[in-house]
């Protein structure tokens, strides 16, 4: 019983970090209708900024995380401006942006390989990882609880931003029809920048937690494959879908690791993806509301 609760907490914790990544990825997808494969790069950028601000500048974790989030957000905006904007202004075919994003993900990875090297780095022990007793029910790690709580805070913040602010409303409108949002007087380029900033920032949060969990290296961004799978399971472009898909995935991974074998984790992940695509190709929360003409 202890073991189940423990693995459930670990699974939710891992899933919530996937959710931070999947939600940003899904947000970009819902506006521009392409899979941004450079998304993993943003989390690596966040991780390295956090690392170097902690190590190099000797700052505390608050300053370092703040710098990491802002830095990841800004780099996402820069990637959009450099690689996607020129394409979307010339053609409505989103496949070109997808290809550009594959290129950008390689570029970002290699910038780190060339400048800081490919070795694995551990963040200084600023995030607590000691075991804690969870209401006498199970033993889990402070890190898992912290990442779960942080993810919830950021996802709730995103939800508030989208539901309560003027730009949040514009983003929801644009995710239904970007062009019509432009006809309402929304500066579409600014909206897209805001979306990338938010997506990059959330990936940055995920990047810090993943760096603690798995150490930091230039290919850490590959982990976003899991978040992509989660977003597809939940229904591409749907934010609640991305969250639910991520939690399912995190749970499935941790329960597999706990009760079967760690080696089956990825098998289960892609098994879930295939089952979803067969049973419900649009995902759990796939778009259904149509427009009457």
């Amino acid at each position: 019983m202890d073991m189940i609760i423990q693995q459930v907490i670990n699974g939710l914790s891992l899933g919530s970090v996937y959710a931070l990544i999947a939600v940003g990825y899904s947000l970009v997808y819902s506006i521009l209708l392409f899979s941004n494969f450079a998304h993993g790069g943003f989390l690596v950028i966040g991780g390295y900024i956090c690392y170097f601000v902690l190590k190099g500048a000797g700052m505390n974790i608050w300053t370092a995380s703040f710098a990491a989030l802002i830095g990841a957000g800004i780099s996402a905006v820069i990637v959009e401006r450099l690689a996607y904007k020129p394409i979307r202004e010339r053609t409505p075919v989103t496949l070109y942006m997808l290809i550009a994003s594959l290129g950008m993900s390689i570029v970002i990875e290699n910038i780190f390989v060339v400048t800081v090297g490919g070795r694995f780095r551990a963040l200084p022990p600023v995030i607590p990882t000691q075991p804690v007793n969870f209401f006498g029910l199970a033993t889990t790690s402070a890190f898992d609880l912290l990442s779960l709580v942080t993810a919830i805070v950021f996802l709730a913040g995103l939800q508030l931003f989208l539901s309560k602010t003027k730009w949040g409303l514009a983003i929801r409108a644009a995710s239904y029809n970007l062009r019509t949002a432009g006809l309402m007087g929304v500066n579409v380029n600014r909206l897209i920048s805001i979306v990338f900033f938010v997506a990059g920032l959330l990936a940055g949060v995920g990047g810090i937690f993943l760096s603690v969990r798995y150490t930091l290296y230039p290919q850490l961004g590959m982990i976003t494959t899991k978040a992509f799978v989660a977003a597809v399971i939940g229904g591409l472009g749907s934010l609640p879908g991305a969250v639910v898909g991520s939690l399912i995935l995190g749970l499935a991974e941790m329960l597999t690791a706990g009760f079967i074998s760690s080696q089956f984790r990825d098998l289960v992940v892609f098994g879930l993806l295939i089952v979803t695509l067969i049973v419900r190709p649009t995902g759990l929360f796939g778009k259904s509301v149509g427009e009457k003409v």
């Binding site: 019509t180 309402m184 007087g185 929304v186 500066n187 579409v188 149509g290 009457k292 003409v293």
Partner: protein, 243 residues
Amino acid sequence: MEDKMPILSVKNLFVNYGAIQALKGVDLDVYAGEIVAVIGANGAGKSTMMSAIMGDVPRAGGDILLDGKPLPSKSFQVVTAGISLSPEGRKVFAPLTVYENLQMGAFPLKDRSLVAEQLKKVYHLFPRLEERQGQYAGTLSGGEQQMLAIGRALMAMPRVLLLDEPSLGLAPIIISEIFKELTEVNQLLGMTILIVEQNARKALLLSNRAYVLQTGKIIMEGDSKELLYNPEIEEAYLGGKKK
């Protein structure tokens, strides 16, 4: 009217889609307070003209002036300058509520009290929108969606309201209702309206002046009531003699 400056002026407008010339030098003036109709068959270029004014498709040539000053070329700047569009096919934001759709229409307005005031006016003109303000736009009937599209465009407090085929796909009785409301929009709000329509009879009855667009060119213009009884127009656009 002719000695005054037009509020909106389209001069020698050209638009191409690749090799296709959709507009081949369109000239058109709209004066403050009037309703101007552009009628024309399928593919004449009516929507293209509206999109070009809105900055939604690039111009290949010509000028568009608002109050004598060149209109910006980006959509969001056009809306801020004072022109908004109720697009062809309505294009309401289906997953947003009626209220949220109207708030989207007011996006360029900075002053919240102005938005609230304008919302009251729109609800006054279209009481049905107020009744359904919490409903998702995608679940509205076609006629209600059209009202929402018009109300949404009005929320930006435009100087000129553009309407692209508000009658599209609606039952005659609903069309009559919407056109009655457009007269009210014009009279109660003093709103200047440029409307393009395939439903030529309705459009000519509604408007003060009208232009006839055919394959990218204006081939006729004049007083709407005169065009209504012009035999050529009757033949080509009003389905022949009715009397």
